[in-house]
Structures are given as structure tokens and as C-alpha cells.
Symmetry: C2
Subunit: 154 residues, 2 copies
């Protein structure tokens, strides 16, 4: 009986603790997303790659999946050369144990068409973040695609 | 001291339990992914929609995000009309508490180009699954994009 009471107490305490920290963890994930965007927007390659987990996969359009630091670095460098990318998160969610999180949002991508004319692609992204042993958050998956309809002439 | 020992015992038991069930949970997520693919491939609209959480978002190319059952239903119906989609999972992962999971894989999509000629688009997908109160897994996010390079002439 005493064990049961103690166990119940542990469960209730854990639940209360979780309620208090869930918002904090969401803020931490959103802060990681915003910090990544900041170094990405200024095309800081080292710091942009450093936001990705060692086993991260980039699932980006018009190329195969890029997995692992070397492939991630190559994909980001190519992306920096292709245009100017910015984004803003609009939704965040967490797994119960706060070890895994997702963020979705909107991106704007300034590019040049084959004739050299500038245009802005707009779309959405989904990033899965994984909490590291040191408590920081890193990108496990990142994916995006355009909102522009196929029949838009592009 | 007795409390500490009991607590340690609870933690160790929970850890052992987790180790035993993690593979089971991964299998359950992969089974959900495969079952969804089965009803999707035969264009069963009701059953395809039923695999999605009430607050699911489809982040599909060339359209804005579709969130919630009505928008999800409309997007899937449009997709059924556009072509024939099949897919296979190749990676699965779970949050520690087994409440959230991700699956990535490859898709094949038989479509017709504007001239009516058939072609097959190939790409990748990422699906975030959320465990429901009844223990079943439902789609929280689903996203895909093509592997075909931009300069392929399509």
C-alpha cells in the first residue's frame, strides 16, 4: 500500500513538472528554429550545418535525400548559391518526453528563372527536431515544398 | 532509503519495459503506414481520410497546407483524380514515450503531362504519426516532394 501511494505521488509530481516545462520546451524549439533561420539567411555555412544532427536528413525538392553531415553541408552550400531563403515558424509540437519536436511554417525563396529573371517562390516547411544529450535541439529532418500551383506558368 | 530503492526499481523496470516495447511500437507504426498505403493505392477515400488525425495537416506540393478532416478529404480526393500513388517506408523512429513517430520513404506517382502523355514522378515523403487515445496511430503531418531535378525538362 505504501509503495502504491509513493508511486502515485511520483506520477502526479512528474505530471505537474511536465505541465510546467512543456511551454518552456516549445519556446526552446522555436528559439532553435529562429536561430537556425538567422545564420541561414546570412549564409553562414558552418553554423547552419551545426544546427543539424549528425544523422540529419534533408528532404528537399528536386534532389535525393541528403543524410549525414557531409551530404547536409553539400546541400546547404548548393542552396546558398541558388538563392536567398528566409522562413518563419507558425506551429510547434512536442512529444510527451520532450525528446522530439516538430515545427511547421512558411518560407520565401528569392531565385532566378532560367532567363535570369528574379522571382520569389513561396511555400511551407516541416522540421523534426531532436533533443541532444546536452539539452540543445538539432534538426533530424527538414523538408519543404512550394505552394505555387503547377499551372502558374512556372 | 527504502523509497530510493523502490524508485530505482521503478525506473529500471520502466526502462526494461521500454526496451521490450520499442520494436513493437515501430512495427505498429510501419504497419499503419503500410495499411494507409493499401487503402490509398485503391483510392478508398473514406478509409484513406480515416488514417488522418482530426487536426492532421497535409503539406503537399503546389497547394497551401490542408489542415483538418474536411480539407484533408478534399486534398486526397483531388490527388486520387490526378494520378496513381504508391509508396514504401524505409525509415521509422519513435519519441521516447512512444506517442509520436516519423516515417520516411519513397513514392512513385503515375501522372499525365499537359499533353496527356503518361510519366512517373519519383520522390520522398515524411509522415509524422500521433498515437491516439485508443492506441492506434494516425497521421499528424504528411509531406512529399519530387527527386526529379529542375533541369530535367519537366
Amino acid at each position: 500500500m505504501r509503495l502504491v501511494v509513493e508511486f502515485m505521488f511520483l506520477i502526479v509530481s512528474a505530471g505537474a513538472m511536465l505541465g510546467q516545462t512543456h511551454e518552456k520546451a516549445k519556446d526552446a524549439v522555436l528559439a532553435a528554429d529562429a536561430s537556425w533561420e538567422k545564420v541561414y539567411a546570412v549564409k553562414d555555412l558552418d553554423r547552419s550545418v551545426a544546427f543539424c544532427d549528425k544523422r540529419a536528413s534533408l528532404l528537399w525538392p528536386n534532389m535525393p535525400i541528403a543524410t549525414g553531415t557531409a551530404a547536409v553541408r553539400e546541400a546547404i552550400a548548393k542552396d546558398f548559391a541558388a538563392g536567398d531563403l528566409t522562413w518563419q515558424a507558425n506551429k510547434v509540437g512536442l512529444a510527451r518526453a520532450e525528446d522530439l519536436a516538430w515545427v511547421s511554417g512558411a518560407y520565401q525563396w528569392k531565385l532566378k528563372d532560367p532567363s535570369g529573371k528574379e522571382f520569389v517562390d513561396k511555400g511551407k516547411y516541416l522540421t523534426v527536431w531532436k533533443k541532444q544529450a546536452d539539452g540543445s535541439w538539432k534538426v533530424l529532418f527538414d523538408m519543404f515544398n512550394t505552394d505555387v500551383p503547377l499551372d502558374s506558368g512556372r
